[in-house]
């Protein structure tokens, strides 16, 4: 035994003492741990509970379904269709390049989109889903679904995207939607949270943009629980949003499609107004473009082609284009003089082919002159000198006033982009805008719708409808919102002398029904649908006196840009006006040859609701009309299809 018992006992005491010291220290430290636990779990619990909820709960917006747009009969103009897209999460994909390579063997990837996607994959947080391809077909989605194991991080997603089934017919009217851009956001003071959702689509132009407030709807929200990598684990609760309102426009889909097709090939615009309600039954601008291209994001090449086209497909010529109305303005001048008592119905003016006003010769289109002309004849044969005389008698203020009463030179509150105000010039206007005094020559020019007068096709159609009804018919585009009918543009009585109006209408009837009328070639021979109208040919260049001396060059000899605009305004049927139509063919030449035949076709189409029987046309036109009807029916097979869908 190496150790004495005493030694052993003492060593045991030492160990006991130190063991107790150590044990005490350990228990003390555990007390400290308990205090810390208490501090975190009891004293600060509320704060940490809040932080834990912040960690796990995300509030996500639920984008509302955009309101649809229908025509007056319920045909779909703008709808939402499911669209499939492919997204990828970098963190889940692992080897991004390899996965993309495999993906590209299954579906066609757009190189531009892919480049952008690759950049996003590199730069954004690794757990953000990045869109690799959009508008993927169902076939492609199924192919991806089958190959899911080989495509980690790749998810097919379904969303809604805007589609315009009859795109081209409505490009100018309805416009299109597109993803919110930074420029859009800058324009809004307090943007809706919705707009901050990547790729959220808003109206960019036309009705889509102007009634964004109705169409967009209200966002809902849902609270979701996410895990540390941002993956959604479950939905906690949701507050439903409100879908956008469905709009019904006054347009008749069939007519719109016909008008668009009829104008094809020209740079032209046509507007059809319902005389009773002011409803825009058709409103077309040609050439057009496919708005679906813009929804997808138009390619630079396609967009450049649209910009470079000399027929200018992008602007809506029907409401945005302003043209000198030419002779279609003559009803305004006549009514201004007659209403103010500066002329009576029987007054005649002698037309020698020109009128000399303050030393300057103003020519009539007919160099030889019309001889003695009264109101009826002046309109029927479109004598210019009669109106020069009327302008001299009544003055520009009266003409301007009458123009505005008849709907020219005023902007209509339509939900369309850049609705033009046009111009019904006054002396004040010239002083303010040109800085020079009004001269008598300006009035003479204005009398025949040249000079400063500018009107849009829409305004001309409104004028025709007001002449036809004597009411202040106002155009209406939105017929109902979510089924609630909107106020019509029936309008109050204009307060014009009914007697004078009747004479003007009679003269307009003669224009297309009298053998000597300027639009006799475009008459309708069915008595129930007789058309009243007025041709117009507006110059876009000055004819020099030198040219006059050598003889005015024929339109066909001029380059396209310098040819006259052809115009025609009309209403029908004459005894009971239902529709008013205005047609403008840019640089089309004469109103009687280029615009009136188009207007006649449109009028008949509007009144019949379909292709009219050939026997309403004069015999000699039937051959060509038949051919055109067949052509156009082939060009727009979709409308026939829509019709049967609805039935």
């Amino acid at each position: 035994m190496r150790r004495a018992p005493k030694d052993s006992a003492e060593s045991h005491r030492l160990i006991t003492r130190r063991g107790l010291i150590l044990g005490g220290a350990q228990v003390g430290f555990m007390g400290l741990l308990a205090l810390r636990m208490r501090y975190l779990q009891v004293d600060q619990a509320d704060q940490f509970r809040l932080l834990a909820d912040e960690n796990r709960i995300n509030i996500r917006l639920i984008p509302p379904t955009r309101g649809r747009i229908f025509d007056r009969n319920g045909a779909v103009i703008a709808e939402n269709v499911p669209s499939y897209r492919i997204t990828m999460v970098r963190e889940e994909a692992g080897d991004v390049d390899e996965v993309i390579a495999r993906l590209s063997r299954l579906v066609e990837l757009d190189p531009d989109e892919l480049r952008r996607a690759m950049r996003d994959l590199r730069e954004l947080r690794g757990d953000t889903p990045v869109t690799i391809a959009e508008r993927v077909s169902w076939d492609e989605i199924s192919r991806i679904a089958v190959n899911t194991p080989a495509l980690p991080g790749v998810t097919p997603e379904v969303g809604l995207s805007r589609r315009y089934p009859n795109g081209k017919d409505y490009a100018h009217l309805v416009g299109y939607v597109g993803p919110v851009s930074d420029r859009d956001l800058e324009k809004i003071d307090a943007p809706d949270q919705l707009l901050l959702i990547p790729r959220f689509q808003i109206g960019k132009i036309g009705l889509e943009a102007k009634r964004e407030d109705l169409l967009r709807g209200k966002a809902g929200s849902k609270r979701v629980e996410v895990n540390a990598t941002g993956q959604v684990m479950r939905e906690l609760d949701r507050k439903e949003g409100q879908a956008g309102a469905d709009l019904q426009v006054s347009i008749d889909n069939n007519l719109q499609s016909y008008v668009s097709a009829r104008l094809e090939g020209e740079s032209a615009a046509a507007v059809v107004i319902d005389c009773e309600t002011g409803d825009l039954l058709a409103c077309a601008s040609s050439p057009s473009y496919d708005p679906n291209l813009f929804v997808r994001g138009i390619s630079v090449a396609n967009y450049k082609a649209l910009l470079d086209n000399k027929y200018r497909p992008l602007p809506n010529k029907a409401v945005q284009g302003i043209y000198p109305p030419g002779s279609t303005f003559k009803m305004v001048t006549a009514l201004a003089a007659l209403e103010n008592g500066h002329a009576s119905l029987n007054d005649t003016v002698y037309c020698p082919g020109h009128l000399k006003v303050s030393g300057r010769r103003f020519h009539c289109w007919k160099r030889a002159g019309h001889g003695n002309v009264d109101l009826h004849r002046s309109l029927r044969e479109s004598c210019d000198v009669y109106y020069y005389e009327m302008a001299l008698r009544t003055g520009i203020e009266n003409i301007s006033n009458m123009a505005m009463r008849l709907g020219l030179g005023v902007a209509y509150d339509l939900p369309l982009t850049s609705v033009a105000k046009g111009l019904a010039p006054t002396k004040e206007w010239k002083l303010a805008n040109k800085g020079t005094d009004w001269v008598i020559g300006d009035s003479v020019n204005a009398a025949i719708g040249q000079g400063f007068v500018l009107t849009s096709p829409l305004q001309l159609a409104v004028m025709a409808s007001r002449l036809a009804t004597g009411r202040s018919v106002t155009p209406r585009l939105i017929k109902s919102v979510n089924g609630v009918e909107q106020p019509t543009g029936h309008g109050e009585d204009l307060g014009l002398n009914e007697n004078l109006l009747r004479e003007v209408r009679k003269a307009m009837y003669a224009v297309s029904n009298n053998r000597r009328g300027t639009a006799y070639g475009s008459r309708i021979i069915e008595d129930a649908f007789r058309m009243a109208g007025k041709t117009g040919t507006s110059q876009v260049r000055n004819i020099s006196s030198g040219e006059r001396a050598t003889g005015v060059r024929k339109n066909s000899a001029l380059p396209w840009e310098q040819r006259d605009h052809a115009l025609f305004v009309s209403f029908a049927p004459f005894d009971n006006p239902k529709v008013a139509v205005a047609v403008v063919v840019e640089h089309g030449g004469g109103g009687s040859t280029a615009a009136a035949p188009v207007a006649r076709d449109i009028v008949l189409q509007a009144l019949y609701g379909d292709d009219p029987p050939l026997d309403v046309y004069p015999e000699k036109d039937r051959g060509i009309v038949k051919k055109r009807q067949e052509e156009l029916r082939r060009a727009r097979p979709h409308t026939a299809g829509d019709e049967s869908d609805r039935a």
Binding site: R3, I15, R36
Partner: protein, 379 residues
């Protein structure tokens, strides 16, 4: 002391040893391990796989090891101490040569059926060696410089090897555990004062070495220390662990969010939720009451060990029991301090609760020694 010095008459033999087992201690160990199973079941989202089931198997193995070790007389283990220590050192050297990399550090040897971490084993064998050393050393020499230097050497050899892996947490645990046994054995206060002073000096030096070619810690270790000192400085990377851990703990409140309802752990905001941070899951789901209860279980284990040590008149046994208890204490104290933001994240598991094989087996081995000392104590 030799075998003969024990009173054979009163020492139980055969199966009667089982009756003399320190049963309260054994039950406490099972209780703590059960808490572990429960939490591993919870963090797996209500599933025995992949953690709870293997952990149960290991605990059964560990318990068997404990019983086996307990049945063998304590003097046998005392005689084995030096050998065990040498084997551990050799294994540490082997790890240096053939070990597998895990998390940027060489820590284990793959034995096929399990991965052995020699550094874990060293925690027990060092305690055995030091207890045996002081049992052998006459008391009056305890504080003589030469006899103090020797155990310091025993401590520093494995510490140096573990640091090379590098495993800062285990190194510090080894130093503290070794130091505590020296303290228990009666080494003079002055030595400890000197060591603390030197420690402060060393820490300063380590920090000075940062960014120099002779940098003494890996970058990630430095970062962890930085983060510990100011978790908000790096909330998304290394500070993330601490911040999320505190959020989880704190949001548990008094009674917790309920079993398997801990959002922080279930949604993976909590890192390493089945290993180093399992205590946080417990605290989140069972609140202060749950966390405090576990702490009480631990405290009882310590108290039972100390009482067993004091009632044992065998010097080796006393030191061994206190040493094992101290090691056990260091495990959970460091782990809890770490997850509660009181210590840097050094990667120390919560004993018997965290998922992991080596630590559990080694601890059960340690408790086997405690039980053996208890059964075979001089009567």
């Amino acid at each position: 002391m030799s075998y003969l010095e024990y009173s054979v008459k009163t020492t139980p033999t055969g199966l009667r040893k089982v009756l003399h087992l320190n049963w309260p201690l054994a039950i406490l160990l099972v209780s703590v391990a059960s808490v572990g199973f429960l939490m591993l079941y919870s963090v797996a989202g209500g599933s025995f796989k992949p953690w709870a089931e293997p952990q149960m198997k290991r605990f059964i193995l560990g318990f068997t090891v404990m019983m086996f070790v307990a049945m063998v007389p304590i003097w046998f283990w005392r005689n084995m101490s030096v050998l065990a220590y040498l084997i551990s050192v050799l294994l540490l050297v082997a790890v240096e040569l053939v070990g597998s990399e895990g998390k940027g550090a060489q820590r284990w040897i793959d034995l096929g059926f399990m991965r052995l971490q020699p550094s874990e084993l060293m925690k027990i064998t060092l305690v055995m060696l030091l207890a045996a050393y002081y049992d052998w050393l006459p008391t009056k020499r305890t504080s003589r410089p030469l006899w103090v230097f020797l155990p310091v050497l025993f401590i520093l050899i494995p510490v140096a090897l573990v640091l090379r892996q590098p495993d800062l947490g285990t190194s510090i645990l080894l130093i503290i555990a070794g130091g505590l046994i020296m303290f228990l054995a009666g080494v003079h206060w002055a030595y400890f004062a000197a060591v603390v002073a030197a420690g402060v000096g060393l820490i300063t030096t380590v920090f000075q070495s940062r960014g120099t070619p002779w940098q003494m810690l890996k970058d990630y270790q430095f970062k962890r220390i930085d983060t510990f000192l100011d978790p908000s400085s790096d909330p998304l990377n290394h500070g993330y662990h601490i911040t999320q851990s505190k959020i989880a703990l704190g949001s548990g409140g008094w009674t917790g969010k309920g079993f398997m309802q801990g959002t922080q752990s279930r949604l993976n905001f909590l890192p390493e939720k089945h290993t180093d941070f399992i205590f946080v899951t417990l605290a989140e789901e069972f609140g202060f009451i749950g966390a405090f209860s576990l702490l009480c279980l631990y405290a009882l284990i310590i108290v039972f060990c100390i009482s067993a040590a004091i009632s044992n008149r065998d010097r080796f046994s006393s030191l061994l029991i206190l040493g094992v208890a101290a090691t056990f204490f260091l495990f959970f104290a460091v782990n809890m301090s770490m997850v509660m933001g009181m210590a840097p994240v050094v990667g120390v598991p919560l004993p018997l609760v965290s998922y992991g094989g080596s630590a559990m087996l080694v601890l059960m081995l340690g408790f086997g020694l405690v039980q053996s000392a208890h059964i075979h104590k001089p009567r």
